[in-house]
């Protein structure tokens, strides 16, 4: 029973297209995140939501639009894809009180051609 699940696992698309990645967590956590891992494996936070409310938007281009329909789901929509958007996108969740552990999904590898 996967705790944080992302779909799709792989996306290959052309420049200029729009794509979405979906994330769901069944841990009952109140906070969810999107992280981007580039080709050098550097992990950088993009967004954080708490109970459907946007808490962090880390200077991400507005072509990236997260949406949280409820606290168990956080989706990422990307418009007008660029070559530099190629990366692995990780969804994560945590409970803000108590332990601060982030639970990550397996990632969605986006390749823009």
């Amino acid at each position: 029973d996967t705790a944080v699940s992302q779909t799709p696992k792989y996306l290959v698309t052309q420049m200029g297209n729009d794509k979405s990645i979906k994330c769901e967590q069944n841990l009952g956590h109140d906070t969810m995140y999107w992280y981007k891992q580039d080709s050098k494996k550097f992990l950088k936070i993009m967004f954080s939501y708490n109970n459907k409310e946007l808490i962090i938007n880390e200077t991400v281009p507005n072509r990236f639009s997260p949406k949280s329909p409820d606290k168990a789901h956080l989706n990422l929509h990307i418009n007008s894809l660029e070559l530099g958007d190629s990366a692995v996108y990780f969804c994560a969740s945590s409970q803000v009180s108590g332990l601060r552990e982030l639970f990550f999904g397996e990632g969605s590898r986006l390749t823009v051609l």
Partner: protein, 116 residues
């Protein structure tokens, strides 16, 4: 100030040896320092974490050493095994945003290869 510097970038260790990865930070407001382990094709997973009120934490073969005055912390993997081969990330966080999120700032990662 928000950076966490990690070294080395890569590390090769013989089976049974000790792997040591180092991290340094600037922001004294950081109050939580975890290490994450990532296998190829998987997401990072928490390995061990420490808070700045202790100087060392040990869990099995994994130990974090923490030097608050030097603003440095390190991961030691004793009796390294081929199954430990992975990318290791140090990270840091602090209570911010009214406590509504656990934003982690990650180091640049260390690719560890343990040779049999």
């Amino acid at each position: 100030q928000q950076q966490v510097k990690q070294s080395p970038q890569s590390l090769i260790v013989q089976k049974g040896g000790i792997s040591i990865i180092n991290c340094a930070y600037e922001n004294t407001a950081f109050d939580y320092f975890p290490w994450y382990q990532q296998f190829p094709g998987k997401g990072p997973a928490l390995l061990i974490a420490i808070r700045p009120d202790v100087s060392e934490k040990k869990e099995g073969r994994f130990t974090i050493s923490f030097n608050k005055s030097a603003k440095q912390f390190s991961l030691h993997i004793m009796d390294s095994q081929p199954g430990d081969s992975a990318t290791y990330f140090c990270a840091a966080s602090m209570r911010d945003y009214g406590g509504a999120t656990n934003k982690l700032i990650f180091g640049t990662g260390t690719l560890l290869a343990v040779q049999p």
